[in-house]
Amino acid sequence: MTLPELAVDLPEGWSHRRDVAPFALVARADPWPTRLAPNLLVAVTPADPGQSPEAYLAAQIQGVATTLVEPVLLDASADRRARTVTFLVAHATGGADLTVLQHHSHTDDGYVIAAAGTAADGDWPEVAATLYALVRSVRVAS
């Protein structure tokens, strides 16, 4: 996959945060019978080299607790050997009730690949296995 070149006219005082997310991928099931299709969002961010997987996971969970509406942390785990963290959160939005599966991998060159698979709670039983496989499949291309 080759990413297209993009152009955007940024307002004065805005800057392109290439350091925060130099790459992002969005994908979704299409077509999908209901309003909110299961989707995948991947972002790559610089890793904090001094942070343990457990501390990274705790920070992510703290972020979830402070940014999402009515979050319920359903599951969370850190794999020190694989340098991955995985967590499952249900939360509300203005118009939907969502389940988000996050799988974050630390790469050898100092980045974190953060993959988030999202589905409406009502669709979760149908797509759970697909989303688990999908977020775990995200990796650095060889």
């Binding site: 319920v72 359903l74 599951d75 499952l88 249900a90 009730d97 709670d121 009502g122 979760w124």
Partner: protein, 226 residues
């Protein structure tokens, strides 16, 4: 004991069970200030100008027209918490409290029926948990299943499976898919916080204990409520 209180802007609706049932059933005494129920509801601010306060109308609509209902019993030692839920097109209402006529009921409402699974997960305190191992291979009679719930941490089957320190809580979820028929058992969990979750499944000769992950429980709740 919880006191009756009506402050919907703060998410607080606490009413005696008898008063709540009178309103849900359309009992005229609820709106009559000459009656004790009506007078108390007026003093609380539930009844305003002879009618039910607007903030409670959607809650009452959900309670009167459910498409499904649930009952949840949480038990650990001598502590028992009871929650009842109604799910309708107008939302989800959870009523928590004792079964006596004067027992104050705590009402919590969500405006969308699709919130039901998350509401249940919150009540059941589903969260990150280790995988349970060393469960009994044979089916157990119910009394044996309940030993660690009733007798405390490290007793019965939980001694090997959960460990000596973590208390075990029973979560019994009952479900009525049409809101009318009597609710039947949908899920029986024995959970020990982060130490793990076990499902007790009815078998021919008792109850089979099966290790569950939080994600499996969540999938079960989403399946049940959709």
């Amino acid at each position: 004991m919880i006191a009756p209180e009506y402050s919907p802007e703060r998410g607080i609706i606490r009413l005696p069970r008898h008063h709540l049932e009178a309103m849900v059933g359309g009992d005229e005494r609820a709106l009559d200030p000459r009656d004790e129920i009506g007078r108390e509801l007026k003093e609380l601010g539930v009844v305003v100008d002879g009618g039910v306060d607007g903030a409670l109308r959607q809650v009452l609509h959900t309670l009167r027209h459910p498409r499904s209902r649930f009952g949840l019993r949480l038990e650990q030692g001598a502590d028992v918490a009871l929650h009842r839920g109604w799910i309708a097109a107008s939302g989800v209402v959870v009523v928590s409290g004792g079964t006596g006529a004067d027992d104050v009921q705590d009402l919590r409402a969500q405006a969308r029926p699709s919130a039901a699974a998350r509401v249940l997960a919150g009540l059941m305190e589903i969260g990150p948990a280790a995988e349970v191992t060393d469960l009994p291979e044979r089916s157990l009679p119910w009394d044996e299943v309940m030993v660690p719930v009733r007798e405390g941490a490290g007793t019965g089957w939980a001694r090997d499976a959960i460990g000596p320190t973590q208390p075990v809580r029973l979560t019994h979820l009952r479900w009525s898919s049409d809101g009318v028929r009597r609710a039947t058992t949908a899920m029986v969990l024995l959970s020990a916080g982060s130490a793990g979750i076990v499902e007790a499944r009815a078998a021919d000769d008792g109850y089979e204990l099966v290790a569950r992950t939080p994600a499996q429980v969540w999938t079960g709740l989403c399946t049940l409520t959709r």
